[in-house]
C-alpha cells in the first residue's frame, strides 16, 4: 500500500457527525443575554479615555493658569529683592507709591556697622543731589565723596555719605522721596562683641600698666565706635530711563506654556510609572511564558499517554 493511498483512504472515509449531534447543535439556546465586554476594544477605550483625561487636565490647567498675571514680569521700578516693609517714622507713603523700604535690621542697644547702598532714578539730578547733601548735613552727617556727571543720555550722581546711625531712618526716608528706588542694599555687622573684647583687653592693660598697649587699644576702640556711630550711605542718583519692560506674554502664550508644562509632567509621570512597573511586567511575562510552555509539554505528555 502506497503512502498516498492510505492517506486518501483516511480522508475519504472521514467519519460524519451523527444526526443526533447535529440536531443538538441546532437547538442550542440563544446566548444573547450573556453579552461580554470584549477585552481588546475595552483596553483601547480605556487608553483613549485616559489620554482624553490627561489632555483635558492639561487644557484646563492651561486655561486656569493663563488667567493669572505672571509675577515674573520685569518692572524696572521695583527692586529685585525688595520687600514691602514698614516705612520709617516720618515718611509718608502714597498708596500708589512703588518705593520700597528696607527692613529695620538695627539693634539700638548694640554697636553696629551699617552700610546702605541706594540707587534712585530722579528727574532733576542736580536738585536731587543738592537735597540729598542738605538732608545729610541737616541730620548731622557729612559727604565723604561725590561724583557728578551728566551727558546727552542723562546723568549720574554718586554720593558717599556718612549719616549718624541715630538719624539713619530719617535719612533713608528723605532719600526715598528724591525719586524712584531702583535698588537698595543694606548690610549690618555687629561691632559690640569686638568692642566688649577690646574693653576687657583695655582693662587688663590698664591693670598691668602697659601704657603702649593701652593707647593702641584705646585708638582701636575709638575707631570702632566711630565706625558704629556713622552709617555709610552710598547714594547713586540717575536720570537714565528705566530698562525696557518685557512685554507680558499673551493669554494664549500662557495657555500653551501651562498646557505644555502639564503635559510634560504627565509624560514624566507615565514614564516613571513604566520605569517602575517595567521589571514587574517583564517578570510576569516570563512567568506566563514559562507556565504556557510547561502546560503545553504537560498536555503533550498527557496525549502521548492517552491511547
Amino acid at each position: 500500500m502506497s503512502e498516498a493511498s492510505y492517506l486518501v483512504e483516511l480522508r475519504e472515509a472521514a467519519p460524519q457527525a451523527s444526526e443526533g449531534l447535529r440536531e443538538l447543535i441546532r437547538t442550542m439556546p440563544d446566548d444573547q443575554r450573556h453579552r461580554r465586554v470584549a477585552v481588546r476594544p475595552a483596553l483601547v477605550a480605556a487608553a483613549a479615555i485616559a489620554l482624553a483625561i490627561a489632555l483635558a487636565g492639561a487644557v484646563i490647567g492651561g486655561l486656569t493658569g493663563s488667567g493669572n498675571e505672571r509675577h515674573g514680569t520685569v518692572q524696572a521700578s521695583r527692586a529685585p529683592d525688595a520687600r514691602t516693609l514698614q516705612p520709617p517714622h516720618g515718611a509718608s507713603v502714597q498708596p500708589q507709591d512703588t518705593r520700597q523700604f528696607a527692613p529695620s535690621l538695627t539693634a539700638r542697644s548694640r554697636l553696629q556697622k551699617q552700610q546702605i547702598a541706594m540707587r534712585l532714578r530722579v528727574d532733576d539730578l542736580s536738585g536731587a543731589t543738592q537735597r540729598a547733601v542738605r538732608t545729610t548735613r541737616r541730620l548731622g552727617g557729612f559727604v565723604a565723596g561725590a561724583d557728578y556727571a551728566t551727558g546727552s543720555d542723562g546723568g549720574n550722581s554718586r554720593l558717599a555719605l556718612r549719616v549718624p546711625v541715630a538719624n539713619l531712618q530719617k535719612a533713608i526716608a528723605s532719600f526715598t522721596n528724591l525719586g524712584t528706588i531702583v535698588s537698595q542694599h543694606i548690610s549690618v555687622a555687629d561691632l559690640q562683641t569686638g568692642l566688649d573684647r577690646l574693653d576687657v583687653r583695655i582693662a587688663k592693660a590698664r591693670k598691668d600698666g602697659k601704657d603702649r598697649t593701652l593707647k593702641r587699644l584705646e585708638r582701636r576702640r575709638e575707631a570702632l565706635i566711630r565706625e558704629g556711630t556713622y552709617a555709610r550711605v552710598s547714594l547713586q542718583l540717575t536720570t537714565a530711563k528705566p530698562a525696557h519692560q518685557h512685554s507680558a506674554p499673551s493669554r494664549f502664550d500662557r495657555f500653551w506654556d501651562n498646557t505644555g508644562d502639564i503635559l510634560g509632567k504627565e509624560l514624566i509621570a507615565v514614564l516613571y510609572a513604566l520605569f517602575l512597573a517595567g521589571p514587574f511586567v517583564l517578570v510576569a511575562a516570563l512567568l506566563i511564558l514559562a507556565e504556557r510552555t510547561r502546560r503545553r509539554r504537560a498536555d503533550h505528555r498527557l496525549l502521548e499517554e492517552a491511547g
Binding site: E9, A14, R22, M28, D31, L302
Partner: protein
C-alpha cells in the same frame, strides 16, 4: 431554530451567525475529537461541549485572528484535554488503566476504512492521531495546525512525519502478521 446572533459590528463584519459556523464545522470538530479520543460516543459528547463553549465565547471570537475552524479546533482540543485530565485523575483514583477506545471489529475512524488502517490508527497515541487528523483528514496547513497545537510549524512537520512513519510500520506489521 437557531437565531442569527451575534448582532452588532462583529456580526456585520463576519456576516455569519454562530449557527451557520457550527453547522459548517460540526463534522470537522467531531472528526478531530474522534481521532483524539478514539471513541465515537465520547467524541459526540466532547463535540457538544465544544460547541457550548464556543457559543459562550462567540462574542470574543475575532475572525481577523484566525478562521472559525481553527478557533473551534482549539476549543475542541481544550475540551479533550480537560477530559483526559479528568480521566487520568479518575483512573489513578480507581486504579484502572483501561483505554477509551472500544474493543470492537467495527472501524472507529470512519466507515469503509480498511481494518488494517483502522487498527494502525488505533495503535497511535492521541498526540499522534491529533496531528494526523489535523493535517491529513481536516487538511489544515502547517501554520494552522501549529496554531491549534500551540507549537511551531517545524514541530508539526516532525510530529506528522513520525506519526505517519509509525502508522506505516503498524500497517506493514499487520499485513505480515
Amino acid at each position: 431554530m437557531p437565531t442569527s446572533w451575534p448582532t452588532g459590528k462583529r456580526a456585520l463584519r463576519d456576516q455569519r451567525s454562530f449557527a451557520d459556523v457550527a453547522e459548517e464545522h460540526l463534522d470537522d470538530v467531531y472528526r478531530y475529537l474522534l481521532y483524539m479520543t478514539g471513541n465515537p460516543h465520547l467524541a459526540e459528547d466532547l463535540a457538544a461541549e465544544t460547541f457550548e463553549r464556543a457559543l459562550r465565547r462567540w462574542r470574543r471570537f475575532d475572525p481577523h485572528r484566525g478562521a472559525a475552524r481553527t478557533w473551534l479546533c482549539q476549543l475542541a482540543r481544550g475540551a479533550a484535554l480537560d477530559h483526559f485530565r479528568a480521566d487520568r485523575r479518575r483512573r489513578r483514583r480507581e486504579g484502572v488503566y483501561a483505554s477509551d477506545i472500544p474493543e470492537t471489529d467495527e472501524p472507529v475512524f470512519g466507515e469503509g476504512l480498511s481494518p488494517a488502517l483502522d487498527h494502525a490508527v488505533r495503535s497511535l497515541s492521541a498526540a499522534e492521531r491529533e496531528v494526523v487528523v489535523l493535517r491529513v483528514v481536516l487538511e489544515l496547513d502547517g501554520d494552522t495546525t501549529a496554531k491549534v497545537l500551540g507549537i511551531r510549524p517545524s514541530a508539526v512537520s516532525t510530529r506528522l512525519s513520525r506519526a505517519l512513519q509509525k502508522l506505516e510500520e503498524r500497517m506493514v506489521s499487520d499485513v505480515r502478521g
